[in-house]
Symmetry: D3
Subunit: 223 residues, 6 copies
């Protein structure tokens, strides 16, 4: 506790942006079905799809002091990601902090705790994925750390990892794997175009994916 | 496990459509306050009210193979209803499966598990009532069954039963009782028109429903 | 149980309205970070910010009889607030009761249980903050009380206390403290204007709030 | 609602007792991995393993009137099984009701709600599997039904079905299948004796069940 | 926040002890089915039944400083009761604090948060009813208050109120009502003796409480 | 997925055993209040305190195939630790697997899912810390991995890390830090002896830890 790591490697911004286009479900599949944060992490308003490099925050329960420290570490294209050191739903973050973060180029917040001023944040178009919406205020008494590895909503996030977030939730991509995952995700998107057309035309997945033989082999019976 | 029942009786489509107009709360009351699925079953977007005949799916946790099998069993005016064999929030269903289901005339999905691609599903106007929104991918390894009775979110659903779903949640109506329930539900709707007018004019339920005597009899005291 | 208190003191309506303008998060801070209801109390639709005087209801689980009794006690500018005597998610309240309550000048409902007909309530612009959306019907068999102190979603609410509610949740302000809290909340709002401007211009909270020295004193290390 | 079915078929008591010996996990496997109640159903004290024929109760939330009605329907070797019509944790059952039930030969209680007087019930050796332990009292105002099919903790239970319960939870076996399931369960128990001996001697499941080839075929890599 | 109330009235110790004998379920019924804390408040070990006067603690999340302050306020026959100002499961209390509290005559702890060292506390016979068992450590940075009214697990508790706790959970009795409740609770206990004997002899509650007529009147049908 | 790492470094067994003596709460404090698994991880029976080196398992939901693979990797003094790739409560593990694991010197199981046969496991003295007790059976169809880093109940665990578990829950200690943490934990235990004696004699923590001045400085008021 009490450490701020200042020089964190980020993925190339163009790669980050390619991941944003693919979205959470596709990126998650493309990297081998890993990296999802828990399903309780929900956006405060629908319709946003972003990717950004994580500035991580490890914070004590009910204490948002480190958010101020973390904002100074933000670079254009980053996202704040906060994990409390024990479960907490307090509202660590509101419209003033969002104003400050946006001034530093921040693209949003992922927080395994609560957020408040959500009506203002919606108007400001500052997207947040959180465990709770809760006005409960916090104190500024105890140190945490910034840009250290954290477990957030069940997923390990290293500083500089790429966070992809949309209406399906939040997914983390290792910085080192981001380019490779972007390639694979775009390949999936491309492959889906043809399948979508065939499915829309009434062809069945049973036939497109050639499942009937294997189903029969496992013993499926039609009665 | 491993059974697909192919010829399932449905209620008459005109009856199904009458139930849709009445909505979940009224249908639930009309059939004697039964048939509701658990309150955690929520629509992925607001503003839809539908009714449809259930094609049921009993699926293993984290395995969506049977969804492909079930889609072949869909008829125009049906809804898919999936219950996992043990609790699971994985995302069994996304935009490709929805494309396929819509091509078969499917009106939506009720799933006691997770769904993904919800931004796409919203654009496609494919309504889903689910336990979770979660991008977690699934496998295709283990058989389940299609069109067998299932317990979904605490309610027993037989294949061919009518599912009514709107912003209040999901209700199941036995196929055999659908016509009778539709009659009773429409009668409730009609009866409410007059009451709504009187209440809007300032009359009290205490008087309209003649409750004062019974309240006093039970011992209610005004101080 | 079985008591209706009829003459309840309310805060001055002008004070109530000033609290509405400030919103939940600010009012909660202004009164010393107290009075919040639990974070599971969510609005049925976004975008409303209100304040109103509480007409409280203590009701048995699954029994909405007392809501009818409470509606008679409503005055213009009031809000209904219902706490069940044991945990319950049943739908105590729907569009007919809302019609009746609106006819009496009621501004909304706060209920530590379920609500139904939410599509209608949304159209009617009758705001509700609830624990659940659930169509489950209730009975009218057992007495409760109206305008007695209740614990609702973890907060003590006295009849006549001011309820402030918006997209962040629900906060209760003691009637006797309402004027003082309104003053303090407005002062906070005013103070935030300047800070927001400085933060938007890129100044850091670390500097505006002069935190660097204290952080160093606690041992924060930059690496 | 409001129906008491009096003449319910039970499985032969000797079959019921054979199922008790096998226990929940084995019986569940023997009947094809079905019939389990939700994992939140826990015994109030450890160390009991029973089987019995279900006398089912469908009861309103917070109303235990029907328990009295159900007790009259008990025969020696039965178990009470209560499902509320909407989720409820109230304490429907305590030591007086247990005294009455034991006098009728009742072997225990399965309740998807609360129980109280658990210290007394422990001394009396009256086993209960419940969702909660909660002293909250109930009323006697609204009818439910006795010996109708119910969904209890996610499982369909018909009156006369066999309930198997132990420290692993609760499983329901259809009355008509009880003899067959008992045969299969006993066969599993017998087969496990040899396996247990080999495993205890240090042989690996990988070898006993001949898994290595299939694992390699799926692509498992040792590094 | 930041207040310690020193001279708190307690109920007479003999009355407190009479309530202990009656237990939670009976006391709760005797005072009109009120005063229960939420069902998630569970004892760390079974078999204890106590009553004691509450020394209340309002504490910030993850900060146990006020426990030390509260211990000085303990008198022989008291119990500590802690409510965090926002939901928290951290382990505020362990064997050292219990040692200190026992030295002051403390009978136990009720905490709407976590406790740790439960193996030691079990050996020491220091009973605790808590929301969680969690080793998570706390800090000593922020003030709370001692002996102020708190809402604990959904129930309002004033300093000096009587807490009754056993395997069924926790109930609060207002200090001013303690004598009256003790009388009523003992009357209930006495009345149950005869009923228990009749029930054990096989008489039915349906007859003892003369329910058959009323059930028929409500429409109960035997088929 | 599909990887088994065979040669994993373990901490020295003597260090592991020293950590066991200190217990979860002390070890957690000694390493700076980190490493705890979530509070929902509970022992299936009370009274055990162990430490062991982790053989980690990443397994699909409802598929226990990898447990068999992992058992082959066990060495004397190890513990199995399983994290499903998406949330699951199925019973991955029972008495046969425990028999096999014990034959390999395994000290227990930590599983962020379900366990079954708990009555047998209790008799066998095979300790398990789990999220659920659930008889639900699993399949053997999909690969996972053994001895890879996993996030288990919110904590990152590397293969070979030391797991400390007792009635307070579960804590992970990095293998590389185990010796240092053991030193610090033992120092804490030693320091507590003197404090416990003084507290038992009636001295207050307020005085022993010299808190009064700082409390006054923060503004604490006695009234």
């Amino acid at each position: 506790m009490g450490v701020v790591v200042q020089n964190v490697l980020r993925a190339d911004q163009s790669i980050v942006d390619r991941l944003a286009v693919c979205g959470v479900a596709t990126v998650h599949e493309a990297q081998g079905r890993k990296g999802l944060l828990a399903s309780y992490m929900r956006p405060i308003y629908p319709g946003t799809r972003i990717a950004a490099s994580a500035v991580t925050i490890s914070a004590p329960p009910g204490d948002n002091w480190m958010v101020h420290v973390a904002i100074e570490q933000l670079r254009d294209g980053d996202i704040l990601l906060l994990a409390p050191t024990s479960p907490c739903e307090d509202g660590y973050f509101g419209d003033l902090l969002a104003t400050s973060a946006m001034a530093r180029g921040c693209r949003g917040l992922v927080i395994d705790a609560g957020v408040r001023d959500v009506a203002d944040l919606t108007v400001m178009k500052f997207p947040v994925w959180s465990k709770a919406i809760f006005a409960q205020g916090t104190v500024k008494e105890t140190l945490g750390s910034v840009n250290v590895p954290v477990v957030c909503a069940g997923a390990l996030v290293n500083p500089g990892d790429v966070i992809v977030a949309d209406d399906d939730g939040v997914c983390v991509v290792r910085r080192e794997e981001a380019a490779d995952v972007a390639d694979k995700a775009e390949a999936r998107v491309a492959a889906e175009v043809g399948k979508r057309k065939r499915l829309a035309a009434g062809e069945l997945g049973l036939d497109i994916y050639d499942m009937r033989g294997r189903l029969t082999g496992k013993g499926l019976k039609y009665v």
